[in-house]
Structures are given as C-alpha cells and as structure tokens.
Amino acid sequence: MTLTARDKQLRGQSRWGTAALGLVTWLVAALFFFPVFWMVLNSFKTELVANTKPVLLFEPTLDRWEAAIDSIPGLLSFSEAFFNSFLIVIVSTVLVLVLAIPAAYALSIYPIKAWRDALFFFISTKFLPIVAAILPLWIMAKELGLLNTHLVLIILYTAMNLPLAVWMLRSFFGEVPRELIEAAQMDGTGLYGQIKDVMLPIVAPGVAATALLCFIFAWNEFFLAVQLNPVEGSTVPVWVSTNVTTRGNFMAKLSAASTLAVLPVVIAGWIAQKKMIRGLSMGAVK
C-alpha cells in the first residue's frame, strides 16, 4: 500500500499529538509523584540534612527508620499499630464484601421497584461531612462501651465503605449477561449457587478492585480513628501522627514513618494492579 501525501500528513499530525499528550501525562504524573518521592528520600536522611536546604545527593542512613520503629513505653508502637490496622481493615473489608455482594446482586438481577431510590439512599450517606456526625457517633460509642476498641472502627469502616462497594459491585454484576443467570437457573442452581459458581468467578476482577479500594480507604482513615480510638488500640495513621511532636520538626523520622504507613497499600496495589485496572474498566467497553 502506498501512502498519499494526505495520509502522511494525517499520520504525522497524530504522531505529534500522541507525543505531546504523552509528555503532558508524564509531567502530571511526575507532579503527583514528587511529594511521595521527596518523602521516601527524606526518610533516608539524617534530621540535620532533612531540615536544611533540600539536597538530592547525601549519605543514606536507616537510622531514622530504626527510630520510627522503636517503641516508646506508653505510646502506640509501630507493631501494635500495624497489627491493629491489619485486623480492623481486613475484617471490615471482608464484612463489606459479605454484605455488599448479595445486596449488589439483588439490586442488579432482581431489582425492587424503587431500586434507584435504594441506590441513592446508599450513596447519600456519604454526602454528610463526617465531622458533622462525630459527636453522636462518639456519644453512641461511649454509651455502648466501644470507645478505644477495635470493634468501633470495624463497624464504622464497614459502614463507610458499604455504599461504595454496593455501587461498584452492582455495576459489575450488571455487566454479566442476564442469560447466564437464567442458564444457571435452568441448570438447577439456587440463589447461592448462582452467586458462587457463576457470578463471582466472572466478576472476580471487579470484586478484587472493590476489595482493594475498601482496603485503601479503611487503611488511610484517620479522623474516626483519632476521635474514637486514639490510644493503644489504634491504627497506623494515628501512629504516624504520634511522630509529630511539639519538640521541633523531625522531618526524616516522620518521613520514615509515613513511608512505612503507605507501604502495605502500595504493595497491595502493585499485586492487584492488573486485576484492579481490569475491574475498574469493566463495563467501560462492551
């Protein structure tokens, strides 16, 4: 095939367009990545270097990582915080999935008349700024004896992520052809079998993406944790904040603690990357 001058011109334009778009994408990505990069870099510096003029070349040290991990009696330790966070986040994420999967299945496969209202109700619970609800939440937690417990955060994180999970899973379930469910019904499966044997294996990437987002949101949550469970039983974000002291800026130690705090999310994201992208783009292209 020979290319006409017009073809070449068109291709040339699109090549330059793509290159320009690529450059902008990299610039934006670098802009977003820079603070994270600076945090990681600072964590390998001494406090002196970290608190003076910013430099790229320095003698790296793990001293501040050790300082961050060192536990101080009476204060929330690194290992406690990580254990608490994993326990609270994993239990709440499992609970979210256990509740959201049947809800999303019902809303997408056997929708009630007012299914739109039901969905809107779910998401409307996210409209209220959490600070507006903290006082009643605190009073309720106190009355029920849940202050400073794992359970209060498990309940709240489950409630916090449930609307998002129902919305996401409903759209994933909606992608599965209706005939597959009908075929499963004809083949003799009950409701449980339809979900377990047919739906879930097909929407697994979507479920993985949903679980990961719930994990991330719960892992990063700070406000509820610091208000309702600020002492020994608390989570990683609260532990990071204990590294902010009134005795001056310990930038390098704080950076090391912050890097440790984001590591599990980054690793989970890295492992689930492929599935998550597939999950999040499910339904984007029919």
Partner: protein, 365 residues
C-alpha cells in the same frame, strides 16, 4: 410421558396494556418438535420462557405431562434450554460447562465425567473438552450449549433461536443436525425462531403467533396449503404469497380479463356475505407472465439460477399493487418491460375479517 400443554396461558409485562401472550392454548405431543414462529414482538420467546419458568404466567396454567408446573421453579421443571447467545459459562471449560447441570444434581464425579464424554462424543466435541468457550467457533459453542442440555436427559428441550448467531451455511447444516439429534433422542422439543424456513424445515408442527395470539398450528405442508388467515398466508412460504384485493362475478374471481372459477362452498359464502373487501392470495408459482389477465410493468428481476422471480407493478380495482411471479430460469424479461399477469391457480380467498373462506372439502371435515 412428557406432553406439554399451555392452558389459557397469559402473560402481560408490567407497564404494557396488551398481553405479550394472550390465552395461549397449545398442546405439544410427547416426542414432538414444535416450532413457535412469528415476527418480533409476537410473543414466541415469552411463551417459551413461560414454559421454562423464567417468566411467570399471569393467568392460565402450563402442564408437563400430568404435572402442573405453572408455579414451579425453573430447576424443578425438568426442562433444559438452549439460549440464543448459548449462555456458556466463560470461566469454565467445555467439559465443566456440559457437566455443570450434573454437578448441580450431585451426580458423582466419575459418572459425571462419563456422561460428559458421551455427550461430547454425540456432538463431536471430544477434542475440545479442555478449552474455554472463547477459544471455540460459533458452531462449536452452539454444540456445547446443546451438550449442556442433552446431558441432563430432560423431559423437554427448549430452544430459543439457537441458530441465529451462525452464518447462513452453518445454520443450514446445524439445523439438520439438531433435527436429527431430536429425532434420535425423541425428547419433546419446543423451538423458537423468527425464520419461517427454519420453522418449515424443522418442525413436526409449526405454531404461528402474532401480537401474542396463536394464529394457526399445523404441519408445515398444511400451513402452506391452507393458511387460516391473511397473516399466516403472508408469513409462510418463501417467497411470500401475493395478496391482491379482488372482486367476484357470477361465482368467478375477476382478475383483469381472466376469470377464475371458485370452489362452490367459497362461492356460496361470497354470495351470502356479499363480495366486499375480498383479498385473493396466490403464490408466485400460481401466476405467470403472458397475454391475458392484468397489464403490468416489470420493476425487479431476481435470477436465482434454477428459477427467476419477477416483481411486477399492476393496477387492479383502482389500486396499484406489487406482485411477485415465478418464471422458468430461461424466461427472458427485463426491468421496464410491459407484460400481462395471468392466474394459474390455486387461489385462496380471504374475507374482510382476514379469514380464509373455506372450500367444500374443508367444510366437510
């Protein structure tokens, strides 16, 4: 005994006034292959889904054998269905797809494997048992869907346009294979299609639906020769029957200079009821081009090799009518030619209510 019967079965979808299926009364004999055919929106798929249990009957009932299944769950009806999209489970292999209904019935693993191999042998799928559906061609997927249905040995097979996703050549081949398989297994089968050729070639009997109403159910030849009304006359037969407004005179149908003698019973009905708004139905091979009849202009010529169909436009009783005439392949005619259309017969006459006027023989039945 797996006779199926619809008894006044009615289904109206929420938000609509007209029923999708209206008081359907239909019996399908044990071992019979009955084809439900009709245009889009005729209610044929709804009728099938009512039998499957995927749509509820608003009124009436459905029986399989002596069992009233109107309120039974799909899994409790002992019916298997082949879907238009095949609905194969994409995450399972061919063997797992075929074996899935058996797994639900808790059939032991060894027995399941044996039955899957047997179904695969019948359908020539033995080499594909470890593949996933996306690695198969359209025809192979169709066979897997068939395998999943036959492995259960159900009382009734339901097939919802199972060939419509195949190309024309494969459709003809698969059509014959399905009909052969049904005959060998002898299982009562309800087959839905919008393709009247598929209906005529496969069905022991064919039921024609339109707007949710059963129009006629009969053997294919009977439908072709004795359509009960204008809808069936226009729907069955390829190419379709010519339906031309007509007039009668002294017991004869008038068509230009031609006079066609009517059956005595038909003539008596016409003379009793008057000759208002009659329609003549005549198949393309019942017309010819010649010197008698009605003058016409040739508008399209379709040469099929073995025969030729000539579309003509003619003026009859003050109306411009389009008709189709079958001529021999050797017959030379071109667009724009002027000719005459003659009637060779046989001719059906339909009254103002759309019903065909019965002949003496039929009235005697």
């Amino acid at each position: 005994m797996s006779e199926v019967s619809y008894r006044d079965a009615t289904k109206t979808y929420p938000g609509t006034d007209a029923p999708a299926v209206n008081r359907l009364n239909l019996t399908i004999d044990d071992g019979e292959l009955l084809v439900l055919v009709g245009p889009s929106g005729s209610g044929k798929s709804t009728a099938l889904r009512m039998l499957a249990g995927l749509e509820a009957c608003d009124e009436g009932s459905i029986f399989i054998g002596d069992r009233d299944v109107t309120l039974a769950q799909p899994k409790d009806r002992d019916v298997a269905m082949i879907f238009q999209s095949y609905a194969l489970y994409p995450h399972m292999t061919v063997a797992q797809n075929i074996g899935f209904p058996l797994k639900q019935q808790k059939v032991p693993k060894d027995e399941r494997a044996r039955q899957v191999r047997e179904a695969a042998r019948i359908l020539d799928l033995e080499d594909y048992l470890d593949r996933k559906p996306k690695q198969l061609s359209g025809g192979q997927r169709q066979r897997v869907a068939t395998g999943r249905a036959i492995v259960r040995h159900p009382q009734v097979f339901l097939m919802d346009e199972p060939l419509s996703n195949l190309d024309a050549k494969l459709r003809v081949q698969t059509r014959a294979e399905l009909a052969d398989l049904q005959a060998r297994l002898g299982v009562t089968t309800v087959y839905v299609t919008h393709d009247q050729v598929e209906a005529m070639t496969m069905g022991h009997r064919v039921a024609i639906l339109d707007y949710g109403e059963l129009q006629q159910v009969a053997r294919p030849g009977e439908l072709y020769r004795h359509p009960v009304n204008l809808f069936v006359a226009g729907f069955i037969g390829s190419p379709a029957m010519n339906l031309i407004p007509t007039d009668t005179e002294d017991g004869m149908v008038v068509f230009g200079t031609s006079r066609i003698e009517m059956d005595p019973a038909v003539a008596a009905t016409v003379s009793r009821a008057g000759a208002k708004d009659l329609t003549m139905g005549i198949r393309p091979q019942g017309l010819s081009l010649g010197s008698e009849g009605v003058p016409a202009e040739v508008v399209v010529v379709e040469e099929l090799g073995s025969e030729t169909f000539v579309f003509v436009e003619l003026e009859h009783l003050g109306q411009i009518v389009r008709g189709r005439v079958r001529v021999d392949a050797e017959y030379r005619v071109s667009r724009g030619d002027y000719t005459n259309v003659e009637v060779l017969g046989p001719v059906h006459l339909f009254g103002a209510d759309g019903l065909r006027l019965k002949t003496a023989t039929e009235q005697g039945d």
